[in-house]
Symmetry: C2
Subunit: 224 residues, 2 copies
């Protein structure tokens, strides 16, 4: 009786077959453009549809562990930082069975992470964000859209740029990133003012060589 009550509240096992998966929207920043990594299925019912990289979760891993594992299995990427977007649990989102997926996003520079095709992946490609294929599987069009919005929100107020910039970077590089992410043009002098007001950068007093003007290199402050 006591056990029954307890169970009711939280511990009763699920009585159905259900997969929990993670899907990852990997955004790549290359040559001032944003890309997204999609995989294509060339077999089965969803032939010729593009999907976010994703896969099922196992018992001994956290959500982030799973995302890490899945992405490594499909691409060979390691040490990626993930941010959770949201969870999707509609009944008909997967036609074969019940699949609940937790969606993450990541921000990387593709040049740091060459795709090393692993396991049985048929095809995996970077797509320009302005040129995403029409034939997306399941509800992944929505997932991509939500992840993109979430990334921009995170950047605006938390300034999470992942590994898009090297440890030491110039203000021009940071501004360029901003302009690309938000598709806007900013005044150099005003941008500088705003960033310094935020008080999150420190000047390394080193100058970047090989580039005109001799700009200072900055880094993020420790305590953020």
């Amino acid at each position: 009786m006591e056990q029954e009550k307890l169970q009711h509240i939280q511990v009763k096992p699920n009585s159905f077959e259900c997969s929990i998966t993670t899907d990852i929207a990997v955004f790549g920043y290359v040559e001032d453009r944003f890309k997204i990594l999609l995989t294509k299925r060339t077999v089965g019912d969803f032939k010729n549809h593009w999907f976010l990289p994703g896969g099922v979760m196992e018992s001994n891993e956290t959500l982030v562990d799973c995302a890490q594992k899945v992405l490594f299995a499909l691409t060979g990427f390691k040490d990626i930082h993930f941010e959770q977007v949201r969870t999707y649990g509609d009944l008909e989102r997967h036609p074969l069975k019940r699949v609940i997926t937790v969606c993450f996003y990541a921000l990387i520079k593709p040049e740091n992470h060459p795709i090393a095709l692993k396991e049985n992946v048929e095809s995996i490609e970077w797509f320009d964000m302005e040129n995403i294929p029409e034939n997306l599987g399941f509800d992944h069009a929505r997932l991509i859209n939500d992840a993109h919005m979430h990334m921009k929100d995170n950047l605006k107020d938390k300034l999470i740029v992942g590994e898009l910039l090297p440890e030491k970077f110039t203000l021009a590089e940071l501004q360029n990133l901003y302009e690309n992410i938000f598709s806007i043009k900013l005044d150099r002098r005003n941008f500088r003012k705003r960033i310094f007001q935020m008080d999150i950068l420190e000047n390394t007093n080193e100058k970047k060589t090989g580039v005109k003007g001799g700009p200072f290199l900055y880094r993020y402050k420790e305590n953020r």
Copy 2:
């Protein structure tokens, strides 16, 4: 073989016992104060700990369906609007077994929803947000905190006030709600200006009676 590939990517069933639950942070607005609904367990290992209302998901329900069902089972509340906060999947968050929970929040007026204790609930109570009990179970302190932040964010830019206001309301009522949620004092005239700039309200040209000053009643515009 083809099937195997397909399965690897997304369809392989989970090979472990795992509960998927939803936990709901129900925020109540009463007498200009915010409350949160917590349940107490008086039996089992987690005796005398307070928890968010929550319960396991079944095969035929979406995440929101589940939240609806769970809240109804525990309190009798119906027709509540939910917003998803985030999903928690750490390995040790539940000591007895693996439990992944999707957290939602809701905003209601307790006076509209008297608690009708159902099933085997031992104790369920409204707590002042400034006076939340110390002995919260599992990671529910974090869940409450995250849900609270998320609610405030949603209000700031999307103005999602749930059912906290009647269909037609005065600007003073709206301002009062704002001031309480964000614990700030606002200038009446400036608040009015800001809200009208948002262009989300329309004047019903009716006046509220029984209150001094004869304020106009407003409602949200259709197309939001």
